[in-house]
Every structure is written in structure tokens, then in C-alpha cells.
């Protein structure tokens, strides 16, 4: 039950958009145009976050903490994130549908991915187990996926074609995000 609570929390009340204003990049930059592609991008990001958090946790507990090198943690995390992205790209390549370069770049440039890892490893008391950290990472990854799919679904609604030209694009996306953030903040009482 506690794990489910952490998982849902990552999507709703602990969503990175609400807590740290992260996860906007895929919208203010470029992103896939269909729901399925956005779901795929979100799940790939979750996989990269999960792998990075697991490797980061192991490196932190077995190397950085014993050798008093914690100040290098962010450097290690960035390297691990890049390697995890390359690894996931390699795995998808072997399955016959290689991840395109621009998708890999979108995941890399989505600050929420790195933010999720930094938060996962840095949050909570030091005694928190690896399982809890990983579930937290998956929850934050699902939160990124949730935003990707939700905003795409809103933009795909036929009513959005009727909006005035001055509201289209970035202004509409920012206001939509603001409203989603307000809605998610409403779950804070549960957390």
C-alpha cells in the first residue's frame, strides 16, 4: 500500500510540474504529435530515469558515500543518464525499432528526467531502501508520461482549432500547464 501511495504521489501531488516546475521542455520545445508517440516517449523517459536511479543509488552507496565524494554525485548522475539513454537506445535498436536521434535528444533535454533522478536520490532519510527509491523514480517518470499524454489530448480536441491566433502555440501551452498545475495542487491534501 505504501508503494502504491509513492507511485500515485509521483503522478499527482508530487508531480515535478507542481513541486519544481519541471517537465515543460517537451512542450515548449518540440514533441511527437500523436498520443501513442507521446506515451512511448514518456515510458522511455521512465525507463531511463529508473535505470539511472538504480545505477546512481548503487554508485552513491558503494563509492561516493564511503569515499566521501558526494560532491561529485551530480556529475556521476549526468554520465549515468547519458549512458542509460545510449543503452535504452541500443535495446530498442535490437528490437527492430531503433529510437530516432531526435527522440533521444528530446529525452536528454527534458530536464524533468535528470530532475527526477536527483530528487529520487536526494529525498528522504538516508535509510530509505532501494525499492522505495526505484518506486519513487517510476512514479516521477509516470508523472512526466501523464503530462505528455494529457496535454497532447487537450491539444488534439477539435475545440482548440477555434481559439484566436494570438492564443495559439506557447501562450496556450503555458496557460494549459498552469491549469494542470493548479488541478494537481488540489491533490496536495492527500499527500
Amino acid at each position: 500500500m505504501e508503494y502504491l501511495y509513492i507511485l500515485i504521489g509521483g503522478v499527482l501531488w508530487n508531480n515535478l510540474l507542481v513541486t519544481h516546475l519541471l517537465g515543460l521542455y517537451p512542450f515548449l520545445g518540440e514533441r511527437p504529435s500523436t498520443d501513442l508517440q507521446n506515451l512511448g516517449m514518456g515510458l522511455t523517459t521512465t525507463a531511463v530515469v529508473l535505470v539511472t536511479a538504480a545505477a546512481g543509488f548503487l554508485i552513491r552507496t558503494s563509492v561516493l558515500v564511503p569515499w566521501d565524494l558526494l560532491y561529485l554525485e551530480h556529475l556521476v548522475l549526468v554520465v549515468v543518464l547519458l549512458l542509460a539513454l545510449l543503452a535504452v537506445r541500443g535495446i530498442t535498436g535490437k528490437s527492430g525499432s531503433p529510437m530516432p536521434d531526435h527522440l533521444a535528444m528530446r529525452i536528454l533535454l527534458n530536464s524533468a528526467a535528470l530532475g527526477a533522478v536527483v530528487l529520487t536520490l536526494g529525498s528522504g532519510p538516508s535509510g530509505v531502501s532501494l525499492t522505495e527509491k526505484l518506486i519513487s523514480a517510476v512514479g516521477l517518470g509516470f508523472g512526466i508520461t501523464f503530462l505528455l499524454v494529457l496535454v497532447q489530448a487537450i491539444e488534439n480536441r477539435p475545440e482548440t482549432r477555434l481559439m484566436p491566433p494570438w492564443l495559439r502555440g506557447v501562450p496556450f501551452q503555458l496557460i494549459t500547464f498552469g491549469m494542470i498545475a493548479l488541478a494537481l495542487q488540489g491533490f496536495a491534501g492527500i499527500g
Partner: protein, 186 residues
């Protein structure tokens, strides 16, 4: 590398570059510090990219650029811990994200597309973009800090994004109006 952002005007890169840093604008000091660290990282990674040019693979350049940018953020964090420890708490999660900002603002150089005017021109161009980012971040930080208590709503993520969206809509409306007037004049 086929990356759609490269087709955008350089100034439009500022909008996605704001994304990783927006949360770090809780105060003008934090926003300014974040911007200055970003410019420092752009300056250092830019020199590295100019020296290496196309001699190494793109993947290696991206990795090395990210590592250099994060190293700058680590140094900045150590300096801040000694000088202004209160700022470190505000910026802990956002300092490593400077690497993402550097990648967004300097991608034209990283991927070797914007080389027509020479590497020094591209370098100065990305530094100018970084300076503009400092101004925009500090302005947002000041806006949030100056808000009176009864407008607290705009300090939170929802209110801030709605306020920014409204400002962007106003700018877009003025631009469209100007274009329309220009078209009618011709």
C-alpha cells in the same frame, strides 16, 4: 542530426531554455545566480567545442559538453556553500540542470549546423543568448519576489504559468497586429 529545434530562430530557443530554470526563480538572487552559472557553463563549453570542432564524434562532444557544464555547476555549488549557503538550498536541484540549458542554447554549435558565420560568431551568439537568459530569469525572479501578499497565487507554479501564458499571448497579439498593419500598408 535531424533535430527540429535547429530550424527555429535563435531567439525562440530562449523559451525552451527557460524550462529547466523556471523553478529556480523563487527570488531574484537565486534566478540571477542560476543565469550567471549558465553563462559561465556556456562560455567554458563553447571554448571546448571551438577547439575540438568536428574532430570528435557528436556523441562524445555531447557527453563531454554535459560533463563540463555539470562540473561548472559543481564548482558554483561549492562556492555558494562557502559564500551564500541559503542560496544552495533554493538551487540544489536546478544547478545540475544547467547542463540541459547549455545543451539547448548551444546546440547549434554542438551539432555543427551554425558554422556558416564561423565558430567565434556562433560562440558570441550563444553567450548573448545566455546573457538574455540571465535578464529574463532575473526579471521573473523579481516579479515573483515583489508580488504583494494578496497576489500570492502568482508565486506558485499554476499562477506563474498562467501569468506567463497571458504575457506571451499579449506579445503574440501585438506581433500579429503589427504584421497585419504592415501587410495592409504594402
Amino acid at each position: 542530426m535531424n533535430y527540429p529545434l535547429l530550424k527555429r530562430p535563435a531567439l525562440a530557443l530562449l523559451v525552451p531554455a527557460l524550462a529547466p530554470a523556471l523553478g529556480g526563480t523563487a527570488s531574484p538572487q537565486a534566478a540571477f545566480t542560476l543565469g550567471v552559472v549558465t553563462v559561465a557553463a556556456i562560455a567554458i563549453t563553447g571554448v571546448y567545442n571551438m577547439i575540438l570542432g568536428d574532430r570528435v564524434a557528436v556523441v562524445a562532444r555531447v557527453m563531454a559538453t554535459a560533463i563540463l557544464a555539470v562540473s561548472v555547476s559543481i564548482v558554483a555549488r561549492l562556492v555558494l556553500e562557502a559564500v551564500r549557503p541559503s542560496l544552495v538550498e533554493d538551487l540544489t536541484i536546478f544547478l545540475p540542470l544547467v547542463a540541459i540549458n547549455v545543451a539547448v542554447l548551444r546546440q547549434a554549435v554542438i551539432f555543427g549546423r551554425d558554422v556558416s558565420a564561423g565558430p567565434i560568431h556562433a560562440y558570441l551568439h550563444s553567450l548573448a543568448l545566455g546573457a538574455l537568459l540571465v535578464v529574463v530569469l532575473t526579471a521573473i525572479g523579481t516579479f515573483r519576489w515583489l508580488l504583494p501578499a494578496n497576489l500570492e497565487f502568482f508565486r506558485g507554479p499554476g499562477g506563474l504559468l498562467i501569468a506567463m501564458g497571458t504575457c506571451a499571448a499579449a506579445v503574440q497579439a501585438v506581433k500579429l497586429q503589427r504584421n497585419k498593419a504592415g501587410a495592409e500598408a504594402t
